[in-house]
């Protein structure tokens, strides 16, 4: 008798203590093994930190958020994991994904199931703009990268060089997969709109082992400003071969990828990469008046993972996830249409998030306030120089 009573009360106690009744489950879908694992994991950490922060403040609608991880190691597995998260785990929404190809595949599953999907880091144009109802994207994209690099050139670099931007000969080079091609296309279009003089636009395969003929072509055409959209090996190769051929354009503006990573600077040599510009997601050497909450994020990151953030991916995922979770707190419930209505109402002003950009979704569910920042390699460090409000250092110019 006593035993039964004890067991019953224990069971009741466990049931009450167990949080499963008052939990809301979301999917965290990133490549956490395979070749994209490094930055996939880095991105996932941003989401985890946003969830920790929200949970510590009481959760959303009084419920604690629980993340269920999925591994999007390749496109097939991305769809498989999306299916598992939706039908087996029963997540109310999915967050992800770092890789554009993975989210394009996985979001087809979630769209059919009518489950909201929040993309916090993939940059390809095609992620939004496919007419999906339940897919939202918070981060800046290839279009932002193209636009912001031309604006930085026209508004800051050219005046600093003492030139009219229209007098500069521009060369656009890019790795020829969909990433480089789409950024280069936006750069070309924006440059032409601004009346700038693009004298060369040339793609190359990212796994090239020689860029010397491209360097010679740029030099022969007298290109003053090189815009390169690239991964890591081809960034290193171009900077080295340009230097060795004695080709010194007035400015080199890299787009994301390899240009933002410290190992690239170490491989090329700090003297060679000195002065090179870069347009990318918000990084950590930035004026915190434009990015309130950044130091708090870095502290939380170090406390949880024991290292400095390894790239800006975690920050951008954190900012997007936090805005979405805060909006869901104001929603009536977790039905898909309630979630969609809640995030459509998001209106976060510029300069109020830890990444600097604001958040408001346009009719394609893309964050129309997303933007990138301009950085420059100075003395072996990547520092933010553009826009002025976010700059931590003066832009330097070639003589």
């Amino acid at each position: 008798m006593k035993l039964t009573k004890f067991l019953t009360s224990a069971a009741v106690g466990l049931a009450l203590a167990s949080p499963s009744f008052a939990d809301v489950k979301f999917g965290s879908l990133y490549p956490i093994s395979g070749p994209l694992a490094l930055l996939g994991e880095e991105s996932a950490r941003g989401l985890e930190l946003a969830v920790d922060e929200i949970n510590a403040a009481g959760g959303i609608q009084g419920e604690q958020v629980v993340l269920e991880r999925g591994d999007a190691v390749d496109n097939n597995q991305a769809t498989g994991e999306a299916r598992r998260l939706i039908s087996l785990v029963g997540v109310k929404a999915i967050f992800g994904t770092y890789s554009s190809a993975r989210v394009i595949a996985a979001s087809q599953v979630s769209e059919l199931a009518g489950v909201p999907y929040f993309e916090l880091g993939a940059v390809a144009d095609e992620v939004t703009g496919r007419g999906l109802t339940y897919l939202f994207r918070t981060n800046p994209t290839a279009a932002n990268m193209g636009k912001d690099s031309i604006e930085m050139l026209a508004n800051a670099i050219a005046p600093g060089l003492g030139k009219d931007p229209k007098d500069l000969k521009i060369g656009i080079i890019y790795e020829d997969s969909s990433y480089g091609t789409s950024v280069a296309g936006h750069q070309d279009a924006h440059a032409k709109d601004a009346g700038l003089n693009v004298v060369l636009k040339s793609g190359y395969p990212a796994n090239t082992v020689d860029m010397s003929s491209l360097v010679l072509e740029l030099r022969e055409k007298g290109v003053d400003v090189v815009l390169q959209t690239s991964y890591q090996n081809d960034s290193v190769l171009f900077l080295q071969q340009a230097n060795e051929a004695g080709y010194k354009p007035l400015a080199i503006i890299g787009g994301g990828g390899g240009y933002s990573m410290q190992p690239t600077a170490d491989a090329v040599g700090h003297d060679v990469i000195e002065g090179v510009y870069d347009v990318d997601f918000t990084q950590f050497e930035v004026n915190q008046e434009a990015t309130p909450g950044l130091d708090k994020f870095v502290e939380a990151y170090k406390a949880k993972y024991g290292t400095e953030p390894r790239s800006g991916h975690s920050l951008n995922n954190y900012v997007g996830a936090k805005a979405v979770l805060e909006a869901l707190d104001k929603s009536e419930g977790f039905e898909p249409d309630q979630i969609v209505a809640a995030v459509k109402a998001i209106d976060v002003a510029e300069g109020t998030t830890a990444a600097g950009y604001g958040i408001k979704f346009d009719e394609t569910n893309q964050n129309e306030r997303a933007s990138m920042m301009g950085m420059q390699w100075q003395d072996g460090k990547l520092v933010t120089v553009y826009p002025e409000g976010a700059a931590v250092a003066e832009m330097r110019f070639a003589e």
Partner: protein, 294 residues
């Protein structure tokens, strides 16, 4: 004119680079008759070891040749003994190809596990110094690769022509059954040859590491061109691979400058197809001894 000379020289140097990677591949193909799809990953392994030795011990990258080349020889010999040899008796030759594809994938992911996804940068010890030759310039490291490729081709030719083992290797390459009847230990020759081919790519790895950042997928950057070079040179021909590499290097460089970087692969592979249509046995291939059908 200067630009033309520079483009030409760049092409020759690129050719030297392709040659030194392709020699080991053509050697293995010519003798063991196995297309080694893990060839690029052998290169990657050699480059990582060179990087480790150079950064950990502070030695000149070229000094690591005394460790990397024997190590790669062992790796190659082991691959033949453990992976390929048991499959030699398989009814279908293609089984060996799939085995090397599997080895390639395993090696790439093993490298990812051990070294991570970041690039590993071997200090170049001045090997990226441009040397001025008249109006044109070339990197010292590239020049050494070119010279090393010539010496390697000559040394292999001498070894295969004049030594007893070399004769045995050629006998096996020509007709493995006849060689066996003459008392040649064929499995041993295969192990030796695979090791030799891997040792050649070990030498290539040591020479290339200071010039290119190493990453787990660096092998895939070189291996497709290496296959083209091997086929173009006449399968299994060592001087053929060398001249095939020069042709590809020159075409790549000239078309990259005069036609456009985005079209150079189209030109390279277009010319490759054209040569194969006109001369199916490759530039230096004999009218196909068809020894590999034996």
């Amino acid at each position: 004119m200067t630009t033309f000379l520079q483009v030409l020289l760049n092409g020759l140097m690129l050719g030297g680079l392709f040659a030194i990677v392709a020699i080991g591949l053509t050697l293995i193909f010519g003798i063991v008759k196995v297309v080694n799809f893990a060839h690029g990953e052998f290169l990657m392994a050699g480059m990582f070891v060179t990087w480790l030795i150079t950064t950990r011990l502070g030695l000149h990258p070229y000094a690591s040749v005394i460790i990397v080349v024997p190590m790669m020889f062992l790796l190659g010999a082991l691959t033949q003994r453990v992976l390929i040899q048991p499959l030699m008796s398989a009814e279908d030759d293609h089984v060996q190809i799939f085995a090397t594809v599997g080895l390639s994938t395993a090696m790439i992911n093993l490298a990812l596990l051990i070294f991570g996804a970041d690039i590993a940068n071997t200090p170049n010890f001045g090997l990226r110094t441009p040397i001025e030759i008249g109006p044109v310039r070339v990197l010292s490291g590239q020049l050494y690769i070119f010279i090393a490729a010539i010496i390697l081709v000559a040394a292999l030719q001498l070894f295969l022509k004049n030594s007893q083992t070399g004769r045995a290797i050629r006998a096996v390459a020509q007709h493995r059954v006849a060689a066996e009847l003459m008392g040649v230990n064929v499995p041993r020759i295969y192990i030796l040859s695979f090791g030799l081919g891997a040792a050649c790519v070990g030498l290539a790895a040591v020479l290339i590491a200071p010039l290119y950042p190493t990453s787990s997928n660096i092998g895939t950057y070189f291996v497709l061109t290496a296959f083209v070079v091997v086929v173009l040179g006449g399968l299994g021909s060592i001087p053929g691979a060398f001249f095939g590499a020069l042709v590809i290097g020159l075409v790549d460089s000239l078309s990259g400058f005069y036609i456009g970087s985005d079209l150079r692969e189209a030109v390279v592979f277009g010319i490759f197809l054209l040569i194969l249509i006109l001369k199916p046995s490759g530039l230096f291939g004999k009218r196909m001894t068809l020894s590999h059908l034996s």
